[in-house]
Each structure stands twice: as C-alpha cells, then as structure tokens.
Symmetry: C2
Subunit: 208 residues, 2 copies
C-alpha cells in the first residue's frame, strides 16, 4: 500500500473530490451540498448524505445570521474549539460554550437537569442573534424546545446533531417541530465534530 | 415518539447497556470491551467493533504508562479538550496539543510538511513517558513512524484514529508495523472524538 503524493495544501481539495465521486448519482441540493460534504469529510461516514435534514430556506437564514455577527452557543467545549475562529471573527461573530461555568453546574443541580439543559437557559441571556449548535446532549435540544415555546429564546438556527442512545433520536424529532430553522442529523449519529463541521461549512460559504 | 425518563446520572449507564445489547453475539476481549463500547458511545457507530485493532498487550502497557503520569500529545485541540482532565490529573498526567504553536507553523513551512507532522517532531522533546493520540492527520502518523525509526521518540502507545480520504487508510497500516504499542481504527473512520474517547476509556479504567 503506497502513500499518495498530495501536497498539504491540496489534501482537502482531493478529499472533497473523492467524496463527490463516491456520492455518485445521489442528487443533492447544491446549496446543501457543501455542508453535507464537509460533514462526510469530518466523519468519513456517507450515512450523513441521507440523515442530514434541513428546514426550508435554512441555509440562507443561517448565512444572514452569520453576517449579522451571530453568537454560536455550543453544548460542548470540543465543538466550540472546532469552530473556525478566524472565519467567524471576520464576520463579527463568536463561539461560546457554558458547560464549564460554575453557575451552569449550580442551575443544573437545583433543577435536577443536565448541565447541557442549563446551558440552554444561559443561552437565553445572550444578546443579539444566536445560533445553537448541539453535538452531544439531547437534553439540550429538549430544553431548547421548551424555552422557545415559552418565548424565552428565538434562535436564528439550531444545529441539532447530538449523538447517542438515550433520547437522541427523539430529541431531534422534537426540535424539527419547534418551528425554528434547523439542520438536524436524524437518527443516533452526530457529535461535536459534526456540529463544528456544519458551523464551518456555513462560515466558509461567506469567508473563503 | 416519547422521551424515556432517564435521570441525568443514569444516561451513560443506560447507553452502555443498549450498546452491549446491540453488540449481541459479537465476542470481544473483556479488556478491550470498555474501549470499544466507549468509542461506539461517542460515535453511535458499531463499525468500530470491527475496525478497532489492538497490538498485543497494549491495554496493560497503556495503563502502565498512564500510571507513570504520561503526557498525551494530540494532533488537534478538539481531542485535547475532549480528554477527561480530572481523571488524567489524578494520575499525574497531562494532555497537550502543539497545533497552534508558532514554532510548529514555522517548522511545517520550512519542511513543506503539515503542522501535524511538525507536532510530532515537537513531541520528541517532551520529557517522560509519552502517548500519541492522532484523531485527524494521517501525516502525523507517517512522520511519527519515521521519527520512531530514527530513534528520536519511543511512545508508550499510539492511538491512531485519523479520519479521511487521503492517505488515512495507508497511514494506519504503516503505524501498525512500526513496532510500538497501538490502538488503531483501520479504514477511513476515526476522529478527534474517537481519539479522546479511547484516552478516556483508558483513564476511567484507573480512576472510576
């Protein structure tokens, strides 16, 4: 087995070509294609061509939010770290994660909820347009659905890609009915890497 | 579709039970089982039951290294952030990532290599036992193989789980022949989340 001789700068381009080749005959909306391809690029998992679901006009709405300098709130530090900061900063936006905050731990303890759910409450206090990116905790999506219905938060976009086995599938179905623009990976799969990849695909549409 | 009523503290336990049920008749070495289950827990991808490969006696060697306070060097900040710090600190270890270091960018530029490859060179300067965890860049594994052969580094363990389409499969086959203890996800799949999950599964064996 021989290594291919690909220059560092060309690795991503070559990867995207391979992904496009292997997607083959699958017809995908060109607007969504770069997002789907970037998620496959980060996971090597072609299931996402089938499982990623987009609400009507969500890409345009997401790009509008980013242009307004939206704050991306993630449910893990991994997702937050994975988001392309130079690109986001160029748009005047920022990425934050409240999971390690002392007041979040306290809120969760008092409410008997998860810290991820408490993070969504803290997200209600963020000023300006907000994008919620959930790559880990279904409890964050369930709480977000409640907060939206209570009128406490109105995100420009929710990226709903938690991963796992308990209430993950259900939480995604719930958030798709909440009435906010969404990009969701239906089923069990997802992750912080997938959440960051979707954010980055959107950011790159505006900055590359 | 109804949400299951599972207490926050019980979500992981219930997830692991579901994973064990669905692994079904697959016979797995008990020593490796908790590592495989944690990777599936972090990815919801049962492929890893088949693709994760372990060198002889690697788990025992890895635990010895962690007990000696090994430094885990990752190739992404995402993997570094995902490693359980309270557990690792309890063992006297630490996790580091050199990807954002100015001298690494410079080395890479001079050598015409990737920053990930330059990170492996910097890893040679780490004092004490070292564990290398690669969740992203195949070029890190290829360079590591060279550095081991040149006698410049002798890791206690390499976690080789880069993800992608260009030289990823090949880099894993190379590192499995280098002669150092390894845990490798053969094939294209892997990721920073998988690298962190393997580290955490090992850490939890000693601290939970």
């Amino acid at each position: 087995m021989e290594l291919q001789n690909v220059l560092p700068a060309d690795i991503e381009k070559r990867s995207m070509e391979i992904i496009a080749e292997e997607l083959g005959e699958i017809q995908l909306d060109p607007e969504k294609l770069s997002i789907i391809k970037r998620v496959i690029h980060t996971s090597a998992d072609f299931d996402y061509a089938r499982t990623l679901h987009f609400s009507n006009g969500v890409v345009e709405k997401a790009l509008e939010a980013l242009k307004k300098g939206a704050t991306i709130v993630t449910d893990t530090n991994m997702a937050c770290v994975g988001i392309n900061k130079p690109g986001l900063n160029k748009l005047g936006g920022k990425a934050v994660c409240f999971m390690a905050d002392a007041d979040v731990a306290e809120r969760a303890k008092e409410a008997g909820s998860t810290r991820a759910a408490a993070c969504m409450e803290k997200a209600c206090e963020v000023e300006g347009p907000v994008i919620i990116a959930v790559g880990n905790a279904p409890t964050a999506l369930v709480r977000l659905d409640e907060l939206v219905k209570e009128g406490r938060i109105k995100p420009e976009l929710v990226i709903g890609v938690p991963v796992g086995f308990v209430n993950v599938v259900e939480s995604k179905e719930i958030i798709m009915k909440t009435g906010i623009p969404y990009i969701v990976a239906r089923g069990r799969k997802g992750g912080s890497n997938v959440a960051a990849a979707i954010c980055n695909a959107l950011i790159y549409k505006l900055t590359r």
